[in-house]
Symmetry: D2
């Protein structure tokens, strides 16, 4: 894997809300998975895309095929997570997003989401489909593996 | 308002999960709104209905028009909330559910959800519609205001 | 009730995240209760306060005694809720926050949270206590009922 | 890795609630992480333990160091996830829980949580500590790697 260049890193933030905390007094581990998804959507919005949009008359959506997160330090209520997002793999039909969470100098967590491109069929079911050209064009410059 | 007869009270339970707690060490107040909705759905299932179902070839759903909850005591991780559900109003187009939460002898909270019956239009928008006969028949015996 | 003057309205925003939506394709009603709390905390932070802080060597927290919300229109994924917050009642021991949600010209919802000031005892239990002077001083200018 | 014997598999269930669904009409991926944790806690309760308890006068808790989930099929509102839990690793200071989700014959997802045993210090911070004998005794019979 090649280290991402600065232009390949998208940065966003997310504050730990009270509803994200648990009785141990820290951000619950599921809050990081929600935050990864929100960071993914922030990046898509920043290039004019959405995780749920019409492309060439076709509704496109991205169900997750896997996700993981390693937790190295705890985050508390009202702290602001800084999230660095990169695309570590842009395949023909799927995409892998990588996330690194820090709070100032503290290394908090890192994780990954792999999502597969699907079209929504008229009956509401989903079928895997090649990633539309519109997505490829906008996401390739952000991808570290090409 | 008439006091409900025993046959008009539907009873269900819900354990306070760790993800329901917050840094104050108690069930977060939003967990009660989630629990009210789950208790509503438990009741509907118990009479063969669903909050999201086809009736007479029409997709029927129930957006909320209001909800409230009064909190009198705190609930902790792993405690089991006992929830008593009654229908305090069954109108032509809307329904009001009432909920009372206890844990053994402790009075925890009470709340309400008012939902309006809607059909899902082909374009995905919702239109208010009279409550289908199927729902009225099954829910009237549980209603305290008739 | 007196209408709030412009200086008594605190404004914040919150985007509808994908995890806030439900199978009906709209922001789930519990997302509005989470958003009300986040708006309350945004306001407190804006005047240097926190819902969970030490005041005069005492840990102060604010359990909710009631909350309600009326829903007038639906909010969809990625829409940005504009939230106007006012303090409609600042009592000796409790506070009532009012919230109005709009999206551009659309009136979405309005709600309320009443919270009671408590100190955290050494054994972790909570006791109702008069609102500290620090809070009163900073919140009175924002209160519409004085 | 050895295949678990039937006595090493703990089974629990969890219904997909409406608040677990998203605008794609399926259980949101974060619902699986919440469900894994709830299944872990169900197992602990079944042997008289809790994820948050006093052992030998010491408050013990289990922050997560990593979690992951692979998703193979979708789960819809009101479907009941059957969850098989095994302990794939019981170390000196940490434990790895494995989870397999099915709905009838459908293979839905599988995941893992690794948690580290910590004592809560008087100042609220956490320190890694050997897993108490009480936990080892009760969890070793359920562990597939010994």
């Amino acid at each position: 894997m090649t280290a991402p260049s600065p232009s390949q890193i998208f940065r966003t933030t997310r504050r730990v809300e009270f509803s994200d905390t648990d009785a141990a007094g820290i951000a619950h581990f599921t809050a990081f998975f929600r935050s990864m998804e929100q960071a993914e959507h922030d990046l898509l919005r920043s290039v004019g895309l959405s995780v749920f949009m019409q492309v060439d008359g076709q509704e496109i959506t991205w169900p997750r095929v896997s996700s993981k997160c390693d937790f190295r330090s705890m985050a508390k209520f009202e702290e602001v997570l800084e999230i660095a997002v990169t695309i570590s793999r842009l395949g023909e039909k799927s995409i892998t997003w990588s996330f690194h969470f820090t709070i100032g100098p503290r290394d908090i967590a890192s994780g990954e989401i792999t999502a597969v491109c699907c079209r929504v069929n008229p009956d509401g079911t989903l079928s895997s489909t090649p990633i539309p050209h519109l997505f490829l064009t906008k996401l390739q410059p952000l991808t570290t593996n090409h």
